[in-house]
Assembly symmetry: C2
Homo-oligomer: 434 residues x 2
Amino acid sequence: MAKTDIARRVYNHTWKLDPIVRSLLDTDFYKLLMLQMIWGMYPKVDATFSLINRAKSVRLADEIDEQELRDQLDHARTLRFSKKEMIWLGGNTFYGRKQIFESEFLAWLEDFQLPEYELGKRNGQYELSFHGPWMYTTMWEIPALAIINELRSRAAMRSFGPFGLDVLYARAKAKMWAKTERLRALPGITISDFGTRRRHSFLWQRWCVEALKEGIGEAFTGTSNVLLAMDTDLEALGTNAHELPMVLAALADSKKELRAAPYKVLQDWQRYYGGNLLIVLPDAFGTAAFLRDAPDWVAGWTGFRPDSAPPIEGGEKILSWWREKGVDPRQKLLIFSDGLDVDTIIETYRHFRGKVRMSFGWGTNLTNDFEDCAPEEVTGLNAISLVCKVTEANGRPAVKLSDNPAKATGDPQEIERYLRVFGAQDRVEQLVRV
Amino acid sequence: MAKTDIARRVYNHTWKLDPIVRSLLDTDFYKLLMLQMIWGMYPKVDATFSLINRAKSVRLADEIDEQELRDQLDHARTLRFSKKEMIWLGGNTFYGRKQIFESEFLAWLEDFQLPEYELGKRNGQYELSFHGPWMYTTMWEIPALAIINELRSRAAMRSFGPFGLDVLYARAKAKMWAKTERLRALPGITISDFGTRRRHSFLWQRWCVEALKEGIGEAFTGTSNVLLAMDTDLEALGTNAHELPMVLAALADSKKELRAAPYKVLQDWQRYYGGNLLIVLPDAFGTAAFLRDAPDWVAGWTGFRPDSAPPIEGGEKILSWWREKGVDPRQKLLIFSDGLDVDTIIETYRHFRGKVRMSFGWGTNLTNDFEDCAPEEVTGLNAISLVCKVTEANGRPAVKLSDNPAKATGDPQEIERYLRVFGAQDRVEQLVRV
């Protein structure tokens, strides 16, 4: 008769909480880079982050149990950076640079704790928000999204038996491996994992990262997930996000200051970071406006991360702008990261090959692609466009225009005001899948 | 990095119900023997079985969640005898006899389902009862007890971490193995497992049965658990229980019939079974009264199972009675089964060795002895004296007197009436631990 490890089995079947986020390093690297700058330059600024579910038809509050959500959020609040994690942050080389984090910042980080949250329900959706100093609330974005997305996966899989689950993951693994085989065929391509926030689950993200490591080898340049970077000896990747221009724009006291905000962000950034970390995120208030008003020194930065325009069209506009500024794009870097999957990656790679250096930050479709994998029809395994955005700074509304109006966030009147300042050039509505 | 089987882990941690009873064969063998007789001779008799917790200080309704209990009972009601189980029941040899179960009975058994239950709470205790035809309600006794006892263990272990559980079972295994070492030293001893109803858990009972098989070898004669007997190729053991005389006594229409009931049971039994199955259970209404009024032919039966008097004292009285009837006890069998543990087994074995054949039906202290095993103090792992007794037959109250007044069950006025009929000779109150 088969031997059963009774202790392990009892443990597995009297499970109380299976924590989704088990380390404060289980977040995107750019949050830590931004955090150091916020801590250094804007420690008094308050910022509110709010959950926004763009997939309105998915009633998250019906799919996910509120108590489970609270238990997970509460558990994340118990986390502190561990000694090993602090040593690694202080001793590791990031983007080729040692001691990227100041010792004073690390000393402060040692006591870091995620701040309180506010959770309610309305019309089948959760209203989840984080109020308080920016240097605390900013750290909720990734764990909050990872928790909700994984709770949603768990709820969707609750009806599956052991064979159903076995088949689900077998198919997902086969599908993922087929993607690596297609990518492996592209010489010189570089791909990284940007899939933390939208992942199916932590363990699945880890599997995907390890599959890429084995499957595409050198072409896999690293992961945005700091914990996985540490645990698998990969590069931790990422630079900055829309929250920086959004907060600085919200704090602007005049139209002039508002127009200057996207460039002030870059100047702030440059006080802290250099080299490959000098990546411009141009689309917070529209890429066309950004390029039109950009000072010449912006062309000296390492590269751009177009994040909402169609990749070829958006990338070409940046290449044109570089050429206008007398810069050879082949020395420059484009990082694509908006809703990529293998087809768009390959198409974009082929288009830009030889014209510009490029890299692909592969997110949702890397770590949460279970389409056609489930042995029974469930919608809860389809990834959704869920974000956690800054919505207020020091009590003023924060706005993102984006190149894609479907990705804009903020109060409609404020969006109108921003459009009057920045214009609406090249803004084209596209379906946001993930 | 350690590989995790994601599918298995998701399955383990999204567990809905871990069924305690997974087969209708997961019951005591004597229930099936009695069932065939009840089905054949008393198909129209109604019998109510009720849960009785003799350990009043243990508030079961506080320890065990009502919904979990209902889920387990409901699950047990979904069970049917499987094809493999039916073939085994029909084809196996029991007590050296082929086809112990009639084919008509087996045909009826194929559709057997546990009947409905009634569950309520009062003063921190569950009121659980089963009403209806005896040939259905009788089958609830063992699964109902096994379910409640295992739910209680699970609740007690809920606070344990993986190491706590590992240590708990490690200690319990070491303790159990030390018992087999002591028993192995006794030449000619025969021991069987009677621990289904009070077991800590099914998996733990299975471990104990396998440990005995390996630990004492030939001295281990089998198990009362039919499923384990089938799965481990052991003998299925057991004969009859108090419910037979209790129901027949309740149905008696006169004092004379009442006094004759314990012997009528034996006559009924003999119509169905012979040989080693002719075991007298003498203590339902007091062993002294039973022996005093017993017809001579009772001395021709294979043996007795004294179940409530102290084993040496009670056994000696039966030996004297055999001698009075001109029977050599060395040809006879005593089966001890009341609250045994290694010390009482050894003491009894030494006392009767050479005087009578004997066998030990080891129950609660075999399958539910976790004393001093838990890494933290919990009372919920101490076995309790929980029984499920017949309380009514055709609407009349059923009574057990026992040799130990602490084990008596039934309405106090009825107990008085029975005592007037049978007398109270040799009834001595003893502490009932399990």
